[in-house]
Symmetry: C2
Subunit: 336 residues, 2 copies
């Protein structure tokens, strides 16, 4: 993750452990300020996850793993810590996966820091492999569209949906990225645009509802991330993903989902069983501190939607590209 | 158009003529402030159209008609005034229709104020008829979705897409409206929500990209306005309309377009010939004076998209509900 820190280019992760503290970029301050905050116990980490200091399913998982690490170092009750962390947000599978993973490792007597660092390193390595597996889909001169931020910020480093773009760019291919702004929190405009700009990859921000306009003009490939993928190949991702998938199908545009195996939840048969987080209406009707809607207005704010498997061309994973009907094959693996 | 003016409920139009001045609600100040501005010549009116003090195809037409009226009263060159007004915005057919209509009336020696008032009254009467024609589509307990603002503000009074809702509400039916916020200028959140709230009709604002989520949950009817409708039944409307139409078709949700005959442009065979206005990128990346995107970011900002006729269930007009293949039937009429 390339960042510009006081004029110097640095390559850092979205979160990392230093001494007895978890360090995390406060993603709410981007793109204008790279502010790194310190966290000393698991309750602080749970709050940071809830308040979206850190967001993106794999980064949430890594933050939770470090939260469990802090709980162990502070001699907190591990089962209680697991409960607090798991309650921070409801949709991303990685959160539960990471906490359970750390519980197992810690009960096996493993060193907490080593175990949490290994968890984060594994995510980054998987993202690299996802990038390598997905890069051939991006052709010279191609027009790629993505939604929200499934970049380095969302995955400790490298990204899921952005990983194939990073690798294709490193391989010297030129292409163009349409970044949908991703209301209400504007993670596309704030975070994905910032990551692409730091890499030098050409892009344009568009209103979410201009996606169909540009798809109709000509988009070669859509890649998004996922928060949870179920056994039948349905998946949850940022609100607005479903719309892009439906339009892509109507226009015969390949639609790919990039995600590590830890995002797959084979315990759920279909996407209908994924709990969808409803966030506060202020996220929609108050922008940058300004109330936009008329006084007394009501707003609904589902954070995610579910896209049925029939709209997915393939899942780009560290184990290769899977068709939706191949998702069940990964059963038995816990993603290790 | 019910407004709350210093605590008193009033019923006014979005624009009206008073003395030798055109009065227009500055729609950019809504919903927080009802500010009425005065215009004394056609160049001021053209600027107001360009800067979106007034917006919505029929209201733009009425403003232009009053602009021609002012030009006549001020003894300005009428052909020059027509040119200036027509250049204000490129997509809405009503603008050209209204200016040409006034040129004919004025060259026939008609009184300018009388002619412009008649033009505005005709719009309002047509909207009332559109409302009556469309109201039976809204059933008790129904869930209706709309996009942008095709309400009283957009059409002098009553509205096009909102007209069937107003009439159904007057008839005593209860229903619920999903209002998509309509980035980048948020006319749904600012204007449609404000109109519905003033009428007492229950609604919720949603992010544009949550439309698909709620359509999948259950929406019974979508009604939008139009800026131009071509001979084959394609139509241009606010960016994001195309997306809703594609998703509605995938989910078998009836998708209606409410527009007066003046919005039909039978001189264009298909929607591909409609000029689409591209507006400045600041509308996307600067919100309420705050720059959101990273410094140096690029944004694209098409104001409209074209929806192909195969996605339209029907056009709700003052002449009844037309199927797309019936649009050609209205040829020969100039909408009078």
């Amino acid at each position: 993750l390339k960042v510009d820190c006081n004029g110097a280019k640095r390559d850092i992760r979205a979160l990392w452990f230093s001494g007895r503290k978890l360090m995390m970029i406060d993603q709410r301050c981007l793109p204008h300020r790279v502010r790194v905050e310190e966290y000393r116990d698991h309750t602080e980490v749970a709050t940071a996850i809830r308040d979206m200091v850190v967001r993106g399913a794999p980064s949430i998982g890594a933050a939770a793993a470090y939260g469990m690490c802090l709980a162990a170092m502070n001699d907190s009750d591990l089962l209680m810590a697991a409960k607090v962390l798991k309650a921070a947000r409801p949709t991303a599978n990685d959160l539960f996966f990471a906490v359970d993973h750390m519980l197992t490792r810690l009960s096996d007597g493993e060193d907490p820091v080593k175990a949490a660092n290994a968890y984060a390193d594994t995510i980054v390595n998987r993202c690299r492999t996802i990038g390598e597996n997905g890069a051939p889909l991006i052709t010279e001169g191609g027009r790629v569209m993505t939604h929200c931020n499934a970049g380095a910020l969302a995955t400790v480093d490298i990204g899921t949906a952005l990983a194939p773009m990073r690798v294709a760019w490193e391989q010297g291919r030129k292409f163009f990225v349409y970044v949908s702004e991703t209301r209400p929190r504007l993670q596309g405009m704030r975070l994905t645009a910032w990551e692409l700009q730091n890499e030098g990859i050409p892009y344009a921000i568009i209103a979410d509802s201009a996606s169909g306009f540009y798809m109709r003009k000509g988009v070669d490939l859509i890649i998004v991330g996922a928060d949870r993928i179920t056994a039948n190949g349905d998946f949850a991702n940022k609100i607005g993903t479903y719309e892009k998938a439906v339009i892509a199908k109507a226009l015969d545009i390949p639609f790919y989902v990039a995600a590590p195996i830890s995002t797959f939840d084979l315990s759920l048969p279909t996407g209908d069983e994924i709990p969808i987080e409803n966030r506060g209406e202020e996220e929609v009707i108050v922008i940058e501190g300004h109330a936009i809607a008329p006084a007394g207005a009501t707003a609904f704010n589902p954070a995610f939607d579910v896209t049925p498997h029939e709209y997915v061309t393939g899942f780009i994973t560290e184990a290769g590209i899977l068709r939706p009907d191949e998702v069940r094959k990964i059963g038995g693996s816990d993603g290790e």
